[in-house]
Symmetry: C2
Subunit: 456 residues, 2 copies
């Protein structure tokens, strides 16, 4: 009875001491990253030294070699590659897509466009056709009899009232992904979409699309904001044609790699906690926010834990995934290899929403697991985390969740600026702020530390 | 007894209905600002059409006229000006400050500098002297016997480990404000400071300083980050001189104005709730974040409340303050006029920490008042507000608090990027994100609505 009483008295004190110890270690993590962090310098190397790195490009191969070196330099116990076969789409040079709008015989206006990723070109020909502009698939369906022989323009706009911009992106994404085949079904010869952005500029945004094999594979491009406004306004006033030429094509599948580093666990070496981002990016920019940020944060977390002499209980994996943008071969390979080896995965975390100031994490896990994570909020709040909510993860770690039911989470940076640069030419190093980038790594490292210490 | 029971039963329902009504109206505010907001367009006019607008400059006068027009167009019941006499400092042209560092006879390096605001020039002469570099006032005191005839360089750095960058600014600010006189006391002939920033560039940051009349008024400049690193490193290795020439001077005091708009209260027309920012800015940039953002948010809140047909209970004041940067004459005038007229001020709110994504508000008020404000957190959270804490306000509304004890608050945007652009050439329109700017206005308008409805 006395022992029990003593335990009851001691427990809160022990808990408090533990919490204090966690708070001290997380402060050490933060101080190290904010004062001595290498993420910004690594990002400069990746973006300025290598640049855009689409799956199958020579730059992607360079990035794998660079990543291997960076993870070793950061102090990994081991680094290994996981091979995968990736689609190898190529947009066909600098003048890959040309769209000229002809209002009447007297005026012609060249639009600033990018071919959508995975879209096929016009075989060296120019497709000239009248434009039919619609605001939605509903309008397309209503006007399906008018579509044959036309180029369909989708004008779906982001709803600026969505405070979370990913909601707008989700709503608009279907036009990029499925717009071509939905129009081809009714005989369209090409599609143009309003770029998935509400940026106040004319920069077009590319991104992945796919064809439904039942219909002709027609060309597909994205327009910048000003041109989109112009085309939409014109379509309300008069009829007009555009001439469209694109060069997208697939080369033979390419060999690529996930780059995986490990810090071996001291208590549970066969149980894994994964953190990562994706190493590939679109070809038209430097992939600085998407997802250079996630890559260098991942490497920085490894460097920091080593620098602080932290010996993890579980084995920590730091993964630079291949081919997220237009094939998901890297993420799938990671999960399938884990399955083949019957690995036990405790948790996986991804940063793939930009290197902006962190606001929290979103999770796909059980309610009790989420409740446990939420109990750590006071430890994370000083570093910017305010919300730990259900819903989230990352494209590359999704397969792990679907294969094993592994709980997953994703860093939630502030999303207001993301779609200004997402998949566009201006996703460059200069648009990433060093402090915001580092602060993301701080919050991620702190969360990983807590999960390593206490499990889920 | 039955009545009491009924009331007790109804009360939570009534409270719930009220809360729901508030939530609906705040959503209307948000939708209006995010979808139809004019703040970004107004900011373009103010920054690109008028530009930097230091007290006393022709641009400041233009800005007053512009602000009057904008507040009228936004639907004010009345707009009036409050005159004040402002200091009229002028840095003396484009080549206002020149600093050349001479390592030895063979090399000379021109540094990128800005004279500190209110600092006096070298009367057309060039001051050439050896440099003594110190990291702090403590080091200056320790080396005071070596200072005579020298140019003192202060190398105080932001501590990157401070998550709230305003803390770093607070720690560093004393070198800009008092560094010249602290060095002149020991016979220094000039001072240079490391700019108050941790930006990864070489752009110098100006800002206000003042002299202690007991000592000579020596020239004072700020260096950009790379040059600061260079000077500091060199000072550890060898002795060197710099040649320094500045042209700062005061012209006769200038007449300026606060621009004040009102929506007259329906229940308490003689009780005022104020919201504002400052219309003046430094001369070397467009004053886009500092404080164009606060100005256009203020006008946008007026426009939105009018557009939604909101009739405030209290009289709402929308104030564009004069001369915050180097004199505070506008804020002082607003409070002194309120005192002269025996006005009753319920609350005042300022936005002067940049047009970045909002994270909450800081307040100077009583604990019970703060508790009341904190009870509204669930209503504000959907729009980005996460913290409602003690500590904060704004320079222009500080006098109101000191005069009457009026509770005051300040918008707290995310602070990670602020000191990259603060008082520097790159505080321009292009560096303000439309969504972040609008979202600040949403949170401010929602808070003002709640205080108007329920008081403090």
């Amino acid at each position: 009875m006395k022992k029990l009483l003593l335990l009851a008295l001691l427990c809160p004190a022990l808990l408090m001491a533990q919490k204090n110890q966690d708070s001290v270690f997380i402060k050490k993590i933060s101080d190290e990253i904010m004062r001595n962090g290498k993420a910004h310098d690594l990002l400069r190397e990746l973006t300025k030294g290598i640049g855009g790195r689409l799956a199958g490009s020579p730059q992607f191969t360079k990035a794998v070699i660079w990543g291997e070196g960076a993870l070793k330099a950061a102090g990994a116990d081991k680094v290994f590659l996981q091979e995968c076969l990736m689609p190898n789409w190529n947009r066909g040079g600098k003048d890959e897509a040309t769209v000229v709008l002809m209002n009447n015989e007297k005026t012609a206006r060249k639009l600033d466009v990018l071919a959508l990723g995975n879209s096929l070109g016009t075989n060296g020909k120019t497709v000239t056709a009248p434009v039919i502009a619609v605001a939605s698939f509903d309008e397309l369906e209503a006007k399906k009899d008018l579509v044959k022989g036309k180029i369909v323009y989708y004008n779906h706009k982001f709803d600026a009232a969505n405070i979370q911009t990913f909601r707008s992106y989700g709503e608009a994404g279907q036009y990029r992904r499925n717009g071509a085949s939905r129009a081809a079904k009714y005989g369209a010869v090409g599609v143009m979409i309003r770029s998935l952005t509400e940026a106040t500029d004319n920069i077009p945004h590319t991104g992945s699309m796919s064809y439904n094999d039942s219909f002709p594979k027609i060309p597909a491009v994205a327009l910048g904001g000003y041109d989109a406004d112009y085309v939409w306004k014109l379509s309300r006033q008069s009829s007009f044609q555009v001439s469209l030429k694109t060069n997208g094509h697939f080369l033979p599948d390419a060999v690529g790699h996930n780059v995986v580093a490990e810090l071996t666990g001291s208590e549970f070496p066969d149980q894994f906690i994964t953190v990562g981002g994706h190493l590939d990016s679109w070809d038209v920019n430097e992939g600085a926010h998407d997802d250079g940020a996630g890559i260098v944060q991942t490497i920085e977390i490894l460097r920091t834990l080593k620098e602080l002499g932290y010996r993890p209980k579980h084995s920590l994996r730091f993964v630079l995934f291949a081919n997220e943008e237009n094939g998901m071969k890297g993420g799938n390979r990671y999960a399938s290899e884990a399955k083949d080896k019957n690995e036990k995965h405790v948790f996986a975390l991804e940063s793939d929403a930009g290197g902006f100031t962190p606001r929290g994490f979103g999770f796909t896990m059980s309610e009790p697991q989420l409740a446990k994570v939420q109990s750590w909020l006071p430890l994370l709040r000083p570093y910017g985390t305010e919300s730990l909510t259900m819903g989230g993860g990352g494209a590359d770690i999704g397969p792990l969740n679907r294969t094993f039911g592994t709980p997953i989470g994703g860093l939630v940076p502030d999303s207001q600026r993301y779609f200004d640069i997402h998949h566009a030419r201006n996703d460059v190093f200069e648009n990433v702020n060093k402090r915001e980038l580092n602060l993301g790594a701080v919050n991620m490292a702190a969360l990983l530390y807590l999960i390593d210490q206490y499990g889920l």
